[in-house]
Point group: C2
Chain length 275, copies 2
């Protein structure tokens, strides 16, 4: 059977989802990707569930108009609050970033103490805790969650390893460290850029990158074993606003050069009716 | 002549504009206020001029639908990028927060070295520097500007006086201190909540609160000398999204108890054609 030539659609509230695309492009080099960053309304992490669902529906509708074969919700807040809604409207696979990382964390922990960090909305949704508990099955797991809202602006400022970043990270992570976690889920696509600081502060703790887990899951859903490792994926970039942060940081998140994004308006788009 | 009974309209990208309303309510206790916080699309400070203008037009159109007699743009980014556009569409007075603070700064400096801090978009617009230079007239002024994008999330997290906040403030303000400023414009409506830390760090430097200056200007435009000091203003609150930050922080910004805000949708609103 020849492979489905349609592209994979990915959306995020802004730029962080490019860290998910980075892993997808590495694991699925033969694929084409259509990425939408909703930079006109970024961030989602401090908004209500209703608003996040409405914005996510418009982003998904945009990707559907590009005839994608799969949608990856590369935003933890949208994965927490809008995934079920999207799946009820869309017949192609819709992957979030929470379930794959939760499964990995449940498998990785030795002592059963798992930390989860993310935006306020992601943590308040309790989505990681529920998913990890589900994947752990009979085994007892203790989940220690903490919102870290200052990490996103620190990353977007490029303060990846400043003394202030370390001080704030210590403040956020101290309770998790004293809980004795051996596994920490980075439940926000911005956080992998803080990996060096977090690894330093948490020796022996396994850090779970939700973007890497989602890329693995996408490969498994597509049933792809091996693709040409020398090929470079094609990535078409769209944004809802041309913002300085996107231009400045996109390459850093993606880990490779990229074209200027095309600006689009998605306010008026609607999903098909629920199935 | 009996006073105009129509309310004063105030809008901001979110919650910060309530620090402007606080001063207005004190100086104009007989007035009614209609406040709109665009919390579904907050912040404006990292978005493009085109997007900020489009959002500002919708906010102003909402206030006009409440028959306001004056619009106060209680957001520095929108004042920097959208004030001229709004004035060309609207026949009532439209006040921003930049011009009044710029006039005060030009009058306040003794040594001619004025610092300005604000969001990336406000500082990049150069609006304060141009306005201060205009008000200074023949006198020479040197303007030292610095974007401080981490201050808004720090305030919204309630980290008003943490060690990390002091470290970040030192990093941001060090160049302004070595420039010998004697006056600093707090060019963002969130920053007055950092006044205690900033005063500590900048002894002898006069801090200009743009919200207080705008309230003074509103009183002068309305031609009000003295109002009943014992009366409490009526403030009708509207938001485009019910967000946790608004509920948590609104009272802190306003300095008084307030009702739950009413949620509205402004996406579809349009200003009248340009005059």
């Amino acid at each position: 059977m020849s492979p489905d030539p349609r592209p994979i659609g990915v959306f995020d509230s802004g730029i962080g989802g490019l860290s998910v695309v980075k892993h997808c492009a590495r694991l699925l080099p033969d694929e084409r990707f259509v990425y939408l960053g909703d930079t006109a309304r970024v961030p989602y992490g401090n908004k209500s569930a209703e608003t996040v669902q409405s914005y996510s529906a418009q982003c998904a509708a945009f990707l559907l108009s590009h005839d994608v074969k799969m949608i990856i919700v590369a935003c933890n807040t949208a994965s927490a609050l809008a995934l079920d809604m999207l799946r009820s409207h869309v017949s192609i696979p819709v992957l979030g970033v929470i379930e794959p990382a939760a499964r990995k964390a449940a498998a990785a922990t030795a002592n059963g103490h798992i930390g989860v960090i993310g935006t306020r909305a992601t943590i308040a949704s309790d989505s990681y805790a529920r998913a990890i508990t589900r994947y752990a099955g009979e085994r007892r797991v203790d989940i220690h969650s903490r919102p870290c809202p200052l990490f996103v602006p620190l990353v977007e400022e490029g303060w990846l390893d400043s003394p202030a970043t370390r001080l704030i990270a210590e403040e956020y992570l101290r309770p998790l460290m004293s809980n004795g976690i051996d596994t920490l889920v980075l439940g926000c696509t911005h956080y992998p850029l803080l990996m060096p600081v977090l690894s330093d502060m948490l020796p022996g703790v396994q850090l779970i990158d939700c973007g890497l887990c989602a890329a693995d899951e996408a490969r498994s859903v597509l049933g792809v074993d091996q693709q040409s490792p020398t090929k470079a994926s094609q990535i078409d970039l769209y944004v809802t606003d041309h913002t300085p942060a996107f231009t400045m940081l996109a390459r850093q998140f993606l880990g490779m050069p990229l074209d200027e994004p095309v600006r689009v308006n998605v306010d008026h788009l609607q999903l098909p009716s629920a199935r």
